[in-house]
Amino acid sequence: MRSRIRETFERLGAERRAGLVTYVTAGDPDLERSARVLGALDGAGADILEIGVPFSDPLADGPVIQRASERALASGTTLAATLEMVARERAAIRAPIVLFTYANPVVRVGLDRFAARASEAGVDGVLVLDLPVEEAGGLRAALEGVGLDTIFLLSPTTTPARIREAGRLGRGFLYAISRLGVTGARASLADGARDLVARIKRETALPVAVGFGLSTPEHVADVAQWADAAVVGSALVDVIGRWGQSDALVEHVEAFVRALRRGCAPRPLGGEQDGPR
C-alpha cells in the first residue's frame, strides 16, 4: 500500500520546500466546527494534518492544548467520534492525516480494533505521545498490518541508539521535539533543535518534522531551512480558542495558516548544503 505521508514528502522534495504540519484537537470547540477547521487547514496549504484525540490527562501538553482538550471533552468528543469525523471529511481533504493521541484511549479500544477503525476512517499515521519505541511493538504491528504509519517522537534527550531504533521502526516521518518540556508556543526557537535534526539525519533517512514551541511564520521559515517539515500546534489551537465561538473562525484559521505556509517557500537552486539531505 502506498503511504500518503511518503508521497507527500516525495512531492515536497520535488517542490524543493519543507512541509507545514498543523495540529488541532478534534472536537475543539465541537466536532462540526472541527471538521470545518480541517477543511480550512487543508485549503490554506497545510501539508499534513495532525489531529489530536482529547484525553483527560494530557501530561505532555502545556496549558493551551490542555484547555483545548477540556473543551473537546466537554463537547463529548471521544476517539470513536474523532474517527467518525475523519471518515466523513476524508474524501474532501487532500493532506495526509496523522492521529496524535495518548495511549489509554487506544488500548481501551484494543490495538487491532483501533488499527482497523483508523484505517477504515482514512487515517494515514498514528503518533502516541506516551508510547516510546520500547512499548510500541504491539501497536506498530497492528498499524503495519493495515498499512498505517507509526510515527515516533525524538527529543534532545534521545540517545543515538534509540534514534536508530526509531528510524528502523518508524514509518512516514520522525517528529523531533525542539526543546525539553511540554507543548506550547514560545517566543524563540530552541538552540538545540537544529543540532537534534542533524543528529537524527546521521542515523536515519526518514524525513524529520520539528515541533514544540513553533508559533510564527519566522519560526517556520527558520526550521524550513534545515528540516523536512515544521509543526505548529499550540499557536494554532490558540487561534481556535480565541475565535471558536465566532463566525469568523474559519477565516482566522485560514489567514494564520497562509502566513505560516509562506515560511515554507521553495529553496533556491544550489542551496543543497543547507538542505535537509
Partner: protein, 418 residues
C-alpha cells in the same frame, strides 16, 4: 521479649523481588512516558540499581532511618479496639510515630539521598493528603535541596495544615487547578515540570506508581515497614500474624508491609481501597471494584476509566486514597491471588477514625482509618484471623478539622455526637 528492638535494616529487601527488565510485574507496570523522559528515567534506574548495591548508601539510609526518622516504629497491641470490634488480637504498626507523622518519610529519604547522589539540586513532588509533600519538604530541608510541590487546589483546601507545614519547611507549594484538582492532576503537573527541567531536577514520586523503576524503588524504600513488623511480631508473640492489612491509594505503605510476608504463604495480605460514597462512577476510588486495565501516568495497571479511555473522576473522604489508578504490583499480586483487596466506605472510615481515638488514644489518618475499618469486616468472617497486623500508616492531625466538618456540618461549637 517485648524490649528487644528489632534491627533497623533494609538488608534483604533490595533486589529480592525485581520486576522483569522492562519493569513489568506480570502484565502490569512498564514505562509509558513521553520521549523526553525515557533517557532521564533510564539514568534514574541505573543510579538506583547502583545505589542499592552500595553498602555505603545502605548504611547512610539505615542510619538516617534510625536517628532522623526514629525507627524502628513500635508494634502496639490494640486490646481495647479489638475487644470493641469483637476481633481477636490486633497489632498496630505505628508508622504514625515516624518523623513527619507517616510512612511517607521512608521513601522521601531514600529518594532524596539518591537525588543527591545523582547530583540533582532540585526536587519536584506531587502530594494528595499532603503527607508526601511534607515528607519531601522535610528531606529537602535536611539535604539542602530546592523543593517544589504540586497539589490539587481541592486537596489544598481540605489539607490546609499540611500546606502551611510544607511552606514552613521551605518548599514552594503550587496549586493545580486542572481536571479533578486532586492527586492525579498534581502528578500530571509535577511530570510537566520534570520534563522541562530533567537536567537538574529529580521527580520524587510518592507512591508505588508511575513508570519503572518507581514502583520497585518506592516499595524497596518502604519495605523497612514489613521487615520491622515481621521481626517485632515474631519477637513479641513468637509467631507470624494470620493476616496483614493496609489501606491502598497508590499502595506504597501496603507494599512496604506486604513485602516481608510475601513468602509466608499462610499470612493473608489484605489491601483496603477507598469505597467512598458508593461503588458508582465518580463516587469512589476502589480500582479493583470499579476499574479495568489501562495506562495512566506511566504504568499499566487497574484504572478507573470510561468507555472512551478517559480517566474517571474519583471520590474519597481521604485525599491520600483519592486516585484513579493503583500501583502495578498490586494489580499483579491480585491477579496471582497472593493478595486480596477489599474496600470500605467513607462512613465506615469515619467511624473507625473515632473508634481508634476512643479505644486506644490514637487519632489515625483518614487513609489509615480505612484499614482499621476493615477489621470489623474480618471479625465477621466465618473463621476470622486470630492475629491481625494493621499498618497505621499515618497520624490524623491533618484530618481533624475536616472530620469535624464531616461529623457536624452545621453545628459549630457543639459536642461531637460520637
Amino acid at each position: 521479649m517485648e524490649d528487644q528492638a528489632p534491627p533497623v535494616t533494609v538488608r534483604g529487601a533490595f533486589g529480592r523481588r525485581d520486576p522483569d527488565a522492562r519493569g513489568y510485574f506480570g502484565e502490569f507496570g512498564g514505562r509509558f512516558v513521553p520521549e523526553t523522559l525515557v533517557a532521564p528515567i533510564a539514568e534514574l534506574e541505573a543510579a538506583y540499581l547502583d545505589a542499592r548495591s552500595d553498602p555505603a548508601f545502605e548504611q547512610q539510609f539505615t542510619s538516617l532511618l534510625r536517628h532522623y526518622v526514629g525507627r524502628p516504629t513500635p508494634l502496639h497491641e490494640a486490646r481495647r479496639l479489638a475487644s470493641a470490634l469483637g476481633a481477636s488480637r490486633v497489632l498496630l504498626k505505628r508508622e504514625d510515630l515516624a518523623h513527619t507523622g507517616a510512612h511517607k518519610i521512608n521513601n522521601a529519604l531514600g529518594q532524596g539521598l539518591l537525588a543527591v547522589r545523582m547530583g540533582k539540586r532540585r526536587v519536584v513532588a506531587e502530594t494528595g493528603a499532603g503527607q508526601h509533600g511534607v515528607a519531601t519538604a522535610t528531606v529537602c530541608a535536611l539535604l539542602g535541596l530546592a523543593c517544589d510541590v504540586y497539589m490539587g487546589v481541592d486537596d489544598m483546601a481540605r489539607q490546609a495544615l499540611n500546606v502551611f507545614r510544607m511552606r514552613l519547611l521551605g518548599a514552594r507549594v503550587h496549586g493545580v487547578d486542572a481536571g479533578s484538582r486532586t492527586l492525579k492532576d498534581a502528578i500530571n503537573e509535577a511530570m510537566r515540570d520534570w520534563v522541562a527541567n530533567v537536567h537538574d531536577t529529580h521527580y520524587l514520586l510518592g507512591s508505588a506508581l508511575g513508570p519503572h523503576p518507581y514502583p520497585l524503588m518506592v516499595r524497596e524504600f518502604q519495605s523497612v515497614i514489613g521487615q520491622e513488623a515481621r521481626a517485632q511480631c515474631l519477637a513479641q508473640y513468637g509467631r507470624l500474624p494470620d493476616a496483614v492489612v493496609a489501606c491502598v491509594g497508590g499502595g506504597s505503605n501496603a507494599l512496604g508491609l506486604f513485602d516481608a510476608f510475601i513468602d509466608d504463604s499462610a499470612v493473608r495480605l489484605i489491601g483496603v481501597e477507598a469505597g467512598g460514597e458508593a461503588i458508582e462512577a465518580g463516587r469512589h476510588a476502589a480500582r479493583f471494584a470499579g476499574g479495568s486495565p489501562g495506562i495512566l501516568q506511566g504504568t499499566r495497571t487497574f484504572v478507573l476509566q470510561d468507555d472512551a479511555g478517559n480517566i474517571g473522576a474519583t471520590h474519597s473522604v481521604s485525599a491520600g486514597l483519592d486516585y484513579a489508578a493503583i500501583g502495578p504490583e498490586h494489580a499483579w499480586l491480585r491477579s496471582s491471588g497472593r493478595a486480596e483487596y477489599a474496600h470500605v466506605s467513607d462512613a465506615q472510615a469515619l467511624e473507625a477514625f473515632q473508634w481508634l481515638a476512643r479505644t486506644e488514644g490514637i487519632v489515625p489518618a483518614l487513609e489509615s482509618a480505612h484499614g482499621i475499618a476493615h477489621l470489623r469486616e474480618l471479625a465477621r468472617e466465618s473463621s476470622p484471623p486470630e492475629l491481625v497486623l494493621v499498618n497505621l500508616s499515618g497520624r490524623g492531625d491533618k484530618d481533624v478539622q475536616a472530620v469535624e466538618r464531616q461529623l457536624r456540618p452545621d453545628a459549630a461549637g457543639q459536642e461531637p455526637s460520637l
